[in-house]
C-alpha cells in the first residue's frame, strides 16, 4: 500500500483554467519525496486537493489506502499539512493553536496539552508558548506551522515551501528535524523552490509542469540523466584569452574565472590535464547552478507531456 496514490487527477477551475490534466503519482511509505515545478505548474492545486481545500474535477486519490471520496475523514486523519501561507489565528498563542488543532483531530485535551509541549519543545518554541503568534518572527511562525502539522502525529506530512523566507541557520536545523521525523517513519512530501533543499533531503522526486507529471524518478537516477553540467573554475593566475581545448567550450568570465560545460561522456580530469598543459592552474571549482536546478530548467523548458528526458 502506498502512502499516497493518485490516478487521473484533473482540476478545472470555474474560470476555465485547467490546473491539473491527469496526474498519476505514487509515493511510497516512509519516503522523503520532492514535488517540484515552476509557479503555476499545479503543485498547490494538487496539495489543495490532498488536503480537501480544493475540490477535484475527476480522478482518484487515496492516502494510506483511504479513498478521499469514500473515507475522507480517515484520509484526512493521516495527513499533516504545512501550507505556504500563514494560516493560523495571529491573535492566539502557540499553545492554544496547537491544543486546538489536536482537538480538531479528535485528541482529548490532556493528551493534546502533552503533545503541544512535546512539539513546541522539538521546534524550539517552548519559551514562546504564551506569546501572541502575531509577535513571533518569520522563522518562528514557520516552525509553529510545522509543530501544528505534527501535533496529531500524522503518517504523511506535506510541506509546501516550509523554509521560504527562513534564514540559513534555521533552514538547516529544520532540515535536521525533518530528516529525524522521516527516519522515525513519517512519509514526507516536500515542495520547495530551493532545489538544493530537495536534492539534500529527498530520495524520490516528481516534477510537475503544465498540470502533468513531467518526470518521476529516484533523485539519484534523475540526476544521472543530466547530460551536461557547467562548472565555474577559479584560476591561480590571470589569463587574457579563452583556452582552446578540443571538445570543450570555455567561456572567459573575467581574467581569473572560466566556465566550461562538461558532458556525461567527458571527464573533469581531462579538463584539468589540458589546462595544466597550457600552464593554467585551477585553484577551486564549483557547479554554476545546483545540479537539480539545471535538470529542472531543462525539464520545464520542454513542452509538458513531451516524454521523459533520455537516460
Amino acid at each position: 500500500m502506498y502512502a499516497l496514490s493518485i490516478r487521473g487527477l484533473t482540476k478545472t477551475y470555474k474560470n476555465g483554467v485547467q490546473a491539473l490534466k491527469g496526474v498519476d503519482l505514487d509515493v511510497e511509505r516512509g519516503d522523503f519525496f520532492a514535488l517540484l515545478g515552476p509557479n503555476g505548474a499545479g503543485k498547490t492545486t494538487l496539495i489543495g486537493i490532498l488536503t480537501s481545500l480544493v475540490n477535484k474535477s475527476s480522478g482518484t486519490v487515496s492516502v494510506f489506502g483511504h479513498d478521499i471520496d469514500r473515507e475522507l475523514e480517515a484520509a484526512k486523519a493521516c495527513i499533516g499539512i504545512v501550507p505556504q501561507e500563514l494560516n493560523f489565528n495571529q491573535f492566539e498563542t502557540p499553545q492554544t493553536i496547537l491544543v486546538n488543532q489536536a482537538g480538531f483531530y479528535g485528541i482529548e485535551r490532556a493528551l493534546a496539552r502533552e503533545r503541544t509541549e512535546k512539539y513546541l519543545s522539538l521546534l524550539q518554541l517552548s519559551d514562546k508558548r504564551n506569546k501572541i503568534a502575531r509577535g513571533l518572527s518569520g522563522g518562528m511562525k514557520r516552525r509553529l506551522m510545522i509543530a501544528r502539522a505534527l501535533v496529531h502525529e500524522p503518517r504523511l506530512l506535506i510541506l509546501d515551501e516550509p523554509t521560504a523566507g527562513v534564514d540559513i541557520e534555521i533552514r538547516r536545523s529544520m532540515w535536521d528535524f525533518l530528516r529525524e521525523i522521516n527516519a522515525r517513519g513519517t512519509t514526507i512530501i516536500l515542495t520547495t523552490h530551493y532545489l538544493e533543499e530537495a536534492e539534500t533531503l529527498c530520495r524520490n522526486i516528481a516534477i510537475i509542469n503544465g498540470g502533468l507529471i513531467a518526470e518521476r524518478d529516484r533523485m539519484s537516477t534523475l540526476l544521472r540523466k543530466l547530460q551536461a553540467e557547467t562548472f565555474v573554475l577559479n584560476l591561480r593566475e590571470a589569463v587574457d584569452s579563452v583556452p582552446q581545448v578540443p571538445g570543450y567550450e570555455f567561456e572567459l568570465i573575467d581574467d581569473h574565472t572560466l566556465e566550461v560545460e562538461v558532458s556525461k561522456e567527458q571527464s573533469l580530469n581531462e579538463v584539468f590535464a589540458k589546462l595544466t598543459e597550457q600552464g593554467i592552474g585551477v585553484l577551486s571549482m564549483r557547479n554554476k547552478v545546483n545540479r537539480l536546478e539545471e535538470l529542472f530548467m531543462k525539464l520545464v523548458e520542454r513542452k509538458p507531456g513531451a516524454g521523459a528526458i533520455p537516460s
Binding site: K76, P83, Y105, I107
Partner: protein
C-alpha cells in the same frame, strides 16, 4: 498515532469516531468561548450598556407615560423583548464575525483539513453563538432586574425560546459568513434586515396597537413570534400562538442548518 485513522466497521472504531467528533465539537466551542471571553468588552458589555439606556429612556422616561401594555407595566413589558433582542444580535454577530474572521485570516483551514465533518463545524459555531447569546442574555437580564421585576411564568418556554432563537440566528450568521467576501457584507444583513425586523418585532409594543394591515404584515416577521414566545415565558402574555411560534423557530432552525450544510459541502466561499 492518528486517533481517527482506523475508521473500520468495528464497534470500537465507531466509538472512537464518535469520541473524536465529540472532541472536535468541544474544541470549536471552547475556542469560541475563549474568543468571547478574551474580547469581553466587545462581546458582552455593549449589549448590557445599550439595554440599560433603553430601560432609562423607554422604560423610565417614556414608559411612565405609556402606563400599561397588555396589562403589565411598560418597563416590565419591554424587558423580555430587550433580552431577546440582545440574544438575536449577539448570536448572529458572534457567528458571522468569528466564521468570517476565520475565513479572512485563513485559519478556517485548520478545521477544513482536519477530519471534522462539516456538520460538526456548523454545530461548533452554533454552540459558540448559543454561548454568547446566553452570556449576553444573562447580562441584560441582570440589567433589567435593576429597573423592573421579572417573574418567570413558564421556565421551559423561556429556555426553549432562547435556545431556538439563538440557534436560528447563529445559523443565519453562519450562512452570511459563508457568502461574505468582505467586512461590509458581514454588516449588511444585521443593518438592513435584522435591525428593522427586530424593531418591528414587538420588542417595544404589542401589535394589538397596530392597524389591521400592519398587524397582518407583522405576523410574517419571525422575530415577532420569537419575542412573543419568550415574553409569554415571563409574563404569560403573547400576541401570537406560542405553539405556532415554536413551530416557526424549529422549522427555521432545521431549514437554515440544511442550507448551511449544503453550502459547506459544496465548499461555497472556501473551496474552489
Amino acid at each position: 498515532m492518528t486517533e481517527v485513522s482506523a475508521l473500520a466497521n468495528s464497534a470500537d472504531s465507531l466509538r472512537s469516531l464518535r469520541q473524536a467528533r465529540w472532541t472536535g465539537l468541544k474544541t470549536i466551542i471552547i475556542r469560541e468561548y475563549g474568543r468571547i471571553v478574551r474580547i469581553w468588552a466587545q462581546t458582552i458589555v455593549p449589549s448590557a450598556v445599550t439595554s440599560a439606556l433603553y430601560f432609562v429612556i423607554f422604560g423610565s422616561l417614556i414608559g411612565q407615560r405609556v402606563g400599561l401594555m397588555d396589562g403589565v407595566p411598560y418597563m416590565q413589558y419591554i424587558a423580555p423583548g430587550l433580552i431577546m433582542m440582545a440574544v438575536i444580535t449577539n448570536s448572529y454577530g458572534n457567528v458571522v464575525s468569528s466564521f468570517f474572521g476565520a475565513k479572512f485570516g485563513k485559519h478556517v483551514e485548520e478545521m477544513l483539513v482536519a477530519p471534522l465533518p462539516n456538520w460538526i463545524i456548523i454545530l461548533g459555531y452554533v454552540g459558540g453563538g448559543l454561548l454568547r447569546g446566553f452570556l449576553v442574555g444573562a447580562a441584560v437580564t441582570v440589567v433589567s432586574l435593576i429597573f423592573t421585576k421579572l417573574t418567570v411564568h413558564h421556565v421551559g418556554v423561556v429556555l426553549g425560546a432562547v435556545v431556538l432563537t439563538s440557534m436560528v440566528f447563529s445559523l443565519g450568521g453562519f450562512i452570511n459568513a459563508q457568502f461574505a467576501k468582505n467586512f461590509d457584507q458581514v454588516n449588511w444583513i444585521p443593518t438592513f434586515v435584522l435591525t428593522p425586523l427586530t424593531y418591528f418585532g414587538g420588542v417595544f409594543y404589542s401589535i394589538s396597537l397596530l392597524p389591521e394591515w400592519a398587524r397582518h404584515m407583522s405576523y410574517a416577521n419571525p422575530i415577532l413570534h420569537m419575542v412573543n414566545a419568550f415574553r409569554y415565558g415571563f409574563l404569560g402574555t403573547s400576541d401570537v400562538n406560542v405553539y405556532v411560534a415554536f413551530s416557526i423557530m424549529l422549522i427555521s432552525a432545521v431549514a437554515l442548518f440544511s442550507v448551511a450544510l449544503f453550502f459547506m459541502n459544496r465548499g461555497t466561499g472556501m473551496r474552489e
